[in-house]
Symmetry: D2
Subunit: 206 residues, 4 copies
């Protein structure tokens, strides 16, 4: 197999990329300036060196701002609200919440979701790490865990699984477990809304 | 213009129907059993006779269940919750809410929405009728008006216009004006949610 | 069942219309001017009277232009090219070909297509009628039958079935049986074209 | 700007990739096995070394099969049909034609298309290179140039521009200039076909 095919095979594993677009990527690189290839090769080579995984929230972050820190900017910021922990699935979910400017506590990146009927749910998500982090957070005044996963079948399944697993701790420590409110989202039309969404929108009316 | 074109022109005015699908409807009817055409012609001819408009909520309803009543089944049902009035844009919105089984008060069908920058908003919706109905509803114990319009630019504009118009009455009578809760709707993924939706979902967490 | 539901049920049988859009059609009619309903009812009632089916090509046509004729304008036009017959599936296909201005012979509307593995193909299409028409057309100088069906699995199956059925007649009378040329259609990009289309486009290069 | 953003910026320039999917690519790489990053970095770094551009048809090809050859496998194959040259826009178009198995001559990759009203068409495509290659191809027996570009506004504009430019040569040398046949492509339905496609499908009937 030649280099075009080999590189296309690597691009084919990118999220959402099929065999044809993978080849288009290779041809784009072939027609690009050599400096673009050099930069890209360099960046990919050093990616895991340049980027650390935060030892607290598990997100990826640039090593640049403080090479000695093992914490990302958010986890290193002692002025955030210690009473609240928001659990999301992916790094990019955290970015969406930060962009909204409406949350000031800390985060934990679960790193995946639990497939329905899966015999070993804990292999898909960072549950043991989460548990180990909770201890010190409780000492620091944690009073609420918000489980903010996607409102899809697998997302809701994961949220329920997680809530059940955290239930004993919640009972024992009086830490509240909550979920983002459901209701009409931007662009929703009543006519097309499902019954669950309407029920929640009416219950959460404001 | 021949009958195919004339009938296609009438179908073209149906919501969401273009010229080509309009012609397809005519050809469907031409190839259908004559009894289908007779039934359809009859039903359309008598539609306004068979169907009344409820004098209270303004929705359309079948005359059949009680030919003497000028009220639809919901408005005629004295056991529903008199403290609550839900304002929707269209008949089909009311059907969606009823299907959810999560609302037990009365309704009012606004019959449209107010375009932004329109010089005469009241011509687009049944606002004078709404006002005239509120008087007796207040006597009957109304304590909350829920303005449940679409979360689109025009829907939100209409909701704000309506809320402003009802504000003096609300001040005077202590009737609460509310809106359906905003948040993640079924199928929402955090990653794609807009900031407004995330903000509301976190504020309404449960 | 009330009139709204009864009429929605009739609309639900229209091509491409689901239960929700069917109800939307009924609510559109309820809010429309009564004159629109009267016109529509009248047009539908008289549709089969106003519109005849051409005894030759089997298309539907308005009775208006010549109430005594049993032939549509095209079949009644003796100046068209008698040597050519174009077989299409639907009336609306004929309209597309006429709009192109590129065909001057006569037509036959097959009225359907033959599902694959169907035990009784002839029940789906007007094959016996086609056969009965061919006799006089041959006397009038027919020399080519163009089978112009959709390039879909069922369309191609129907075209092959029809060609096989017409083969003996073709052998006997030297009438040529042909098919529309395959190749790149407007908007095609070579990159996305399937091998069959590329093969035909190259074979038919011009 | 940190490495996540820098790498996302490079991915954003890939064909068809927006800012959000670019970030998703980076997070995919962060969570991938380090060996995947090493391979990818290596492959991209050496891409222009591993892959040569054929001096004849201008396509990219792997250096592997014969490190000393400056010709791709197709151009190096002396058994192909020397009488025919197929001009395509992109490498991936050549792949689509080869996959069809219906062409046995040589190719030339134009490398782009000419925007409408552009003041300097020749800067967008490899026209001077094409001209320089034609000389020896004519000596070798070239008798037909097939201009196989996309059937889009810009593709057709480029094809016409190219045909006009090659016209004097064609006159002088009797080399035929042709275009892929137009007609119904796989999946086409007559009802939706444009007039140009129908006209060509009927003209090219077979």
């Amino acid at each position: 197999m030649d280099s075009i095919n080999q590189l296309a095979d690597l691009f084919k594993k990118f999220p959402g990329i099929g065999p044809r677009q993978a080849r288009r990527f290779v041809y784009y690189l072939l027609s690009a300036d050599p400096s673009v290839l050099d930069q890209m090769s360099e960046k990919i080579k050093n990616l895991k060196k340049d980027i650390k995984q935060c030892t607290e929230c598990q997100r990826y972050f640039s090593n640049g701002y403080n090479p000695k820190s093992s914490l990302c900017k958010i986890c290193a910021d002692t002025l955030r609200d210690k009473s609240s922990l928001l659990i999301v699935e992916k790094d990019i979910d955290l970015e969406a919440v930060e962009r909204s400017g409406s949350y000031h506590g800390y985060y934990f990146i679960l790193g995946g979701s639990v497939p329905i009927l899966d015999p070993s749910p804990e292999t898909h998500i960072r549950f043991p790490i989460l548990l180990s982090k909770l201890e010190s957070k409780i000492k620091d005044g944690l009073s609420e865990i918000i489980i903010a996963l996607s409102v899809t079948t697998e997302g809701e399944h994961t949220a329920h699984w997680l809530a059940a697993k955290l239930h004993p701790l919640s009972e024992q420590t009086k830490i509240k477990i909550s979920f983002p409110g459901r209701g009409l989202s931007t662009g929703s039309e009543l006519e097309y809304a499902d019954s669950e969404t309407i029920k929640n929108a009416l219950a959460n009316r404001q």
